[in-house]
Amino acid sequence: MAATTPGPNAVPSARPSAMSSAARPAPRRGPGRSLRTAGFHTGAILLSAVWFLPIALILIISLRSTDDVLGHGLNALPHSFHPGNYASAWTGGGMEHALVNSAVIAVPSVALTLLLASMAAFALSRYEIPLRRTLILVMLGGNLLPPQILLVPVAKLSQVFGVYDTLTTLIVVEVGFGLGFYVFVLQGFMRSIPAEIQQAALIDGAGPFQIYWRIVLPLTRPALAALGALAFTWIFNDLLWPITVLITESKMPVTPALLTLQGQFVSYWNVIAAGSVIAAVPTVAVFLRFQRHFISGLNLGAVK
């Protein structure tokens, strides 16, 4: 599973992005400062270039024709411009269909995860629930289980119940497997909401549901946004669960479909490159759009 789950040491904090450049001004330095700055930028540009090189090369290969790649080799400068590879991957390689499947899986999974996790987190953080620490630990523990131990039973149980090879099953599994971590982070976040707000609502006669829906949930929005952006990429990028509970090719989401495309267009590196690019575009888009939330989401588990 591609999901990267921040560790159990989570501290609730939706800090502003560590990436935003608007922050304290650099302290003044003596002479040689401009030289040092130039040195820094040279180093940083080199480092970024090394990091970006594989991506650049894949983008170039994805736009070269098959004859060009076969004739001139993978490393040659492009002798052709062939965006048709994207069409091959999109329709021939089934990426179009797979993207739709991924959306059908990821969107409800994320929504359900956040809803259920916020419900549990609300109850566990704002009320005296018996065994609450135990419950939180148990739920988190479920998330820390390596998925391998669940593969065979989940595949077989879903067959026994006749729900094998359905998107619904995949959604339930994705939700169930992620819940613990989200509950853990959210309940930590909710605990930092001052008691006075809740007490005031209580005096106004609000029941638990109103407090949850009207007060706590809106205040939790930053954490929900961060977790939502994270959860989307995790579920979208997942390989292990889809190949475990699905067998029909036409139901497969993007990541396993990419492997199918690889098997289908063996040695057509240009089409495989185009497929990889297509598979990466949605998560890159989410990242660019929700960059701030995304980074703070990763840091939900880290900042002390």
């Binding site: 940083a44 090369l57 419900m119 549990a120 289980l145 954490a223 690889q262 598979a279 880290a302």
Partner: protein, 321 residues
């Protein structure tokens, strides 16, 4: 102390920033709300998610342990086998290789991504013009799926791909290699894309950690005449202790889940030289339909992961007390 109160511990620069609430800074210890007892609705709020997790996680996990005690090909009813499957591991050379590779992966992937991530974070720590672009370049791969990452690198690793091209360009043509096909390099060639993707992630964790260090500490050290290395050693590192713990658990969990890369590239080959426990488990269960042995391998992975996490938790409890 429980984890819950551990993480409520108002250490360092913890802020509930998004809320504009600074309530957690104070010394107040207990912020729970005693007046509200559980109502049926609240119980449902807890029980429903718990039930879903039980159905999708806990119940299957118990079944997994049970299946590991049987011989089962998925068709005929399973036969109880006691510890047969576990005994079998002792004279299974592929298991030994997979265990060894998993350890190598864990250590190499762990140290390099922690060191690399910290290095990048230190390097790109100061806010200045263009810094956001550099950080974004390093971070971009984090959002790719491991499978897409693997396929990109597979292209680079082709006998006539970028890796060999670069080597011959810098006069190291004799180092050229069929990277993924040579059992001596296959495992390491697969760690590299995983690292490429992980370093940016670790960097972001450390960036946030570095930001949380009170600048006054560095100033004080400087006044005392500490060298850059001494500052790093005596101020930065100790201050990053809690982030280190998170980085450690992130890395452990991620490296145990490195299935995607290897399954996409070599499926453990050539001749099992890059087999990991996770790929071997999947292959045993789903390709060879030897579900009993497959589940036993899964239990081993579980024990390993759990061992690391529990030992970390125990340490975390001790530190906070």
């Amino acid at each position: 102390m429980s984890v819950a109160s551990t993480q409520a511990h108002p250490a360092g620069a913890a802020t509930a920033g998004g809320l504009g609430v600074r309530g957690s800074r104070g010394p107040r210890r207990d912020r729970r709300f005693k007046p509200f007892g559980p109502s049926p609705l609240l119980i449902a709020f807890v029980v429903v998610p718990l039930l879903i997790e039980s159905v999708a996680v806990f119940w299957p996990a118990i079944q997994g342990v049970y299946i590991s005690l049987t011989h089962w090909n998925g068709v005929n009813p399973p036969t109880f086998a006691g510890l047969d499957n576990y005994r079998r591991m002792f004279d299974d050379p592929v298991f030994r290789k997979a265990l060894e590779n998993t350890a190598i992966w864990l250590v190499l992937f762990g140290t390099v991504s922690a060191a690399g991530g910290l290095g990048c974070a230190m390097f790109l720590q100061r806010e200045r013009r263009g810094i956001a672009v550099y950080r974004a370049a390093l971070f971009l791969p984090v959002v790719f799926s491991l499978t897409a990452t693997a396929l990109m690198w597979q292209t680079l690793y082709q006998p006539r791909g970028l890796a060999n091209g670069l080597l011959s360009a810098i006069g190291l043509g004799s180092w050229q290699h069929a990277w993924l096909a040579d059992p001596r390099t296959a495992l390491y060639a697969q760690i590299l894309p995983a690292l490429w993707r992980e370093i940016g992630y670790v960097m972001v964790l450390y960036l946030a950690g570095l930001k949380g260090i009170d600048p006054a500490l560095h100033e004080a050290a400087k006044v005392d005449g500490a060298s850059a290395w001494q500052q790093f050693r005596n101020v930065t590192l100790p201050q990053l202790r809690s982030v280190n713990a998170v980085v450690l658990s992130v890395i452990v969990i991620d490296s145990l889940r490195s299935f995607d890369v290897v399954w996409s590239l070599t499926q453990g080959g050539p001749y099992n030289s890059s087999q990991l426990l996770s790929t071997y488990m999947y292959q045993t269960a789903f390709v060879n339909t030897d579900f009993g042995y497959g589940c036993a391998l899964a239990v081993v992975i579980f024990v390993l992961a759990f061992g690391v996490i529990v030992s970390y938790l125990i340490r975390a409890f001790k530190e906070t007390d």
